[in-house]
Every structure is written in C-alpha cells, then in structure tokens.
Symmetry: C2
Subunit: 249 residues, 2 copies
Amino acid sequence: MRNLLLTIRYCGTNYSGWQVQANAPSVQQTFQDAVERLFQARENVTGCSRTDSGVHANRYCCNIRTASALPCQTIVSGLNAYLPEDIAVLACEEVDYDFHARYDCTGKEYLYLLRNSAVRDPFLIDRCWLFKPKLDETLMHAQAQDFVGEHDFTAFCAAGASTVNNVRTVKSFTVERQRDEILFRVTADGFLYNMVRIMVGTLVYLSLGKIPLDSLPQILSSRDRGQAGVTAPPQGLYLNRVFYKKETP
Amino acid sequence: MRNLLLTIRYCGTNYSGWQVQANAPSVQQTFQDAVERLFQARENVTGCSRTDSGVHANRYCCNIRTASALPCQTIVSGLNAYLPEDIAVLACEEVDYDFHARYDCTGKEYLYLLRNSAVRDPFLIDRCWLFKPKLDETLMHAQAQDFVGEHDFTAFCAAGASTVNNVRTVKSFTVERQRDEILFRVTADGFLYNMVRIMVGTLVYLSLGKIPLDSLPQILSSRDRGQAGVTAPPQGLYLNRVFYKKETP
C-alpha cells in the first residue's frame, strides 16, 4: 500500500464545500468519483480541512492510501482527465504511510478577496465580496495586527461550533489594496469555524466606524461572538496554502 | 436629444458576441433590454465593433442617442441594476451629438491570454487558451515585431470575410510571460475578422517550429490565409481598450 499526497485547486462556486454531504455536490465526492474511475477501486480521500459552500482553494491538500501502482505523473493527468474543469490536480507525491492530511497539518494560509468599488467586475462574480462603501486598507492592516499572536478566538467563531479549545496562533495578517481590490492574507496554526470570514467582517466594521478603533483586544477577551463584526460572505475566501513539517510540492 | 458614450465590461462566455443575432443571446440585445427598462424607450445602442462568440471585453465602448434626462451617474447605477452580473457599465459621459462609437474609433487594443501549462486553472476556464506544449515567449515577442507597421493583413483574416481594404497599421505587439500565463497585447488602428486570433495562432506555430522563423514578412506578402497558423480559440481574447480622438473615461 502507498500513501499519496495530492495538491488540488478548485473553484468552489458549484459545490457545497469539500466534505461529502447528502443531497449536495461536494468537492470530496466529485474527487472520490474520479479516483474510483482511475484506480478502479473506491479509495477514501482524506482532506486537510472542511471548506464552506462557495469557498475556493488555490492549493488544497489531501491524501489517499491505495494499492495502485500508477506513477504519480499518470495519477495527475488521469485524475485531471476524469475531473470536471473546476477542479484540477496540481501535484502528486508519495509520502510516509502514516502521513495524514488533517492531523499532520501545522498551519494554513487563507486569502480573502474584497472588491471595493461601486461597480461589480463581471470576471469576479462568485469570486469576491463586492463591497461598495470606501474602505481604508491602511487602517484595517494596522488594526489586524491585534489578531497576531496566541489568543482565544471564541469571539471569532460561528455560534454553535463545538470546538473544545478555541486558542489559536495567528502568525501573520496583512491587508493590501491593488486598485479596486483589497486582499486580506492570514496565516495561523489553525482556524475555527468561520474565523477568517468573521475577522474580515470585523475589520470592515472597524473601517466603517461601526466598531470602535483599537477594540480588537477587548473583543478577543470578551469571547463573545456578538461583539465581533459581520461574517464576510464565502465567495471571497480562498484556502491558499497548507503547511506540513515537510514542504508540500 | 443627448448622445451618451458608455464604457462597459463583459464576460463573453454566455453570449454569441456583441452583435444582435436571431436565436442566440447577444451582449447588445441584453444591453438594449436594460436600456429600455431604464429609459422606458427602445433606444438603439451603437457598438465600437463586433466581437465573436465567447470573446470578452475589459473596456468596450458604445453610444446611445436618447431623449432621457437622467444624470450620467444614475444611468451607470440604473443599468448595472438591470443588467445580468456578467455585464457591467463602468462609465457614462455625454458626448457631441455626432459622435459615433464605430466610425470615430481611431484604434483598439486587444489582449490574448494563453495558459501554457500541463494543468488547467479552474479559475480560468472559458477565459484563456489552455496550451500544454512549452512555448517560447521571447521568440514570439521578437517574431511579433514583424507585424508592427502598415501591412496588408489578408493572410491574417478569416477566409470569406468581405473587407474591401485589408491594410491595417499595427502600432505595437508585445508577448510577455507571467508564470504559467502568456499575455499577447496588440494595438492597431483597426483589425480584420479573426486577425488577432490568427496572429496569436501563427506566433504559437512559429514557437513550435511548425512555421519557419522569420517568415512573417513572406506570409504577409503572400496574402494567403493558408500560409498563416491556426486561429486561436475565442475564449482567450479580450477587447482591452478603444481609442477615440478624445480620451475615453
């Protein structure tokens, strides 16, 4: 038996997220169908994390334990032939048999794309948050530095999520404007449910003056979801990188 | 009566091109429907040029003669509310009554996006030409300089096109790589039918060695479409700018 680490990219618009769900097309289900056609066996695909409906991935990682002897390059081209066009396999490499895409993950990087313009971009429909009032990216970048470090992020977790330990370490958080687009980039050792989207929505509220400046430390320590801002919509979110002890391809 | 110059942007995937056609959705038809809803009158919309089925536009120009007294900013937001998401109005300004979007056009710039990679990009489906064999952008850029200047472009015009005068002046032609994407950018005083797509396909053939190096002057003087390369597919083509004597907004 071999263990394969695959890096894939997908546009999440037509999917209910990564995880297999009854009555809704998922990336995992679609991927497992392609794997079954190529390997002539139903293999279980282990993803690095769930993603929400409509969320995208530039570099998502998953692993497959399989008896198949197909060379890695053949697996890449074979899966790409069987997958729909909105999912692509970028790389495949053989890893230790005990490697696990979720448990061995040491961190992730997310991007959030916000279009800050009065007019939509026909090429970014379903790929960004169209937000018309003018935002201050310099202010948001400065405020976002209060997220960096080890904190209890309960206030930035969707209500009802049942995590035991809500302490995470944000390694970096940057906010940059490129013309009409504002790009949020956040790296952490792990993320709570909806955490990136609530952090982005809260920075937007800070820029609008709906939340007082410099109040992120107080919101964090409140552990109260009600004190943070809106949850930014899913279509602007991209899982950008997944970190393991060993660099992924 | 006023004459309005509108700049619009559209993703052409779901359209048969700009021009109204029987039995196929066109950008012009869709646009005229939105104009009719806003102005409560069926106005004729004059485009700067036809575009082919599946071709995109970053900045397309058209003009409308109308009795409407709506302010330009209201026209922008009103049309954007009535248009589908894959078409957006970027700007509207009042121009001389005799201004004509096609006849007064002094030049255009097209972009052609080619993805040069073994693997598709899920975010660029229907938005580029996926071409897997490795291409040499430096060679293509150098060869493309033979297009610059005043030439008879009959060899780079779709067979059956009925233009009287096939002489055009290419002002500039650049070919640049950005990672896995090759961007062709060409500006001219005018273009024949399929001219950009045949020029791009011919540069690709030059890079592949299917057409001998330095043969563009000979192909141009042959005036024979059969000597040029393949017609690159429509989905990589973007009308990027339209030039008038006066700068457009």
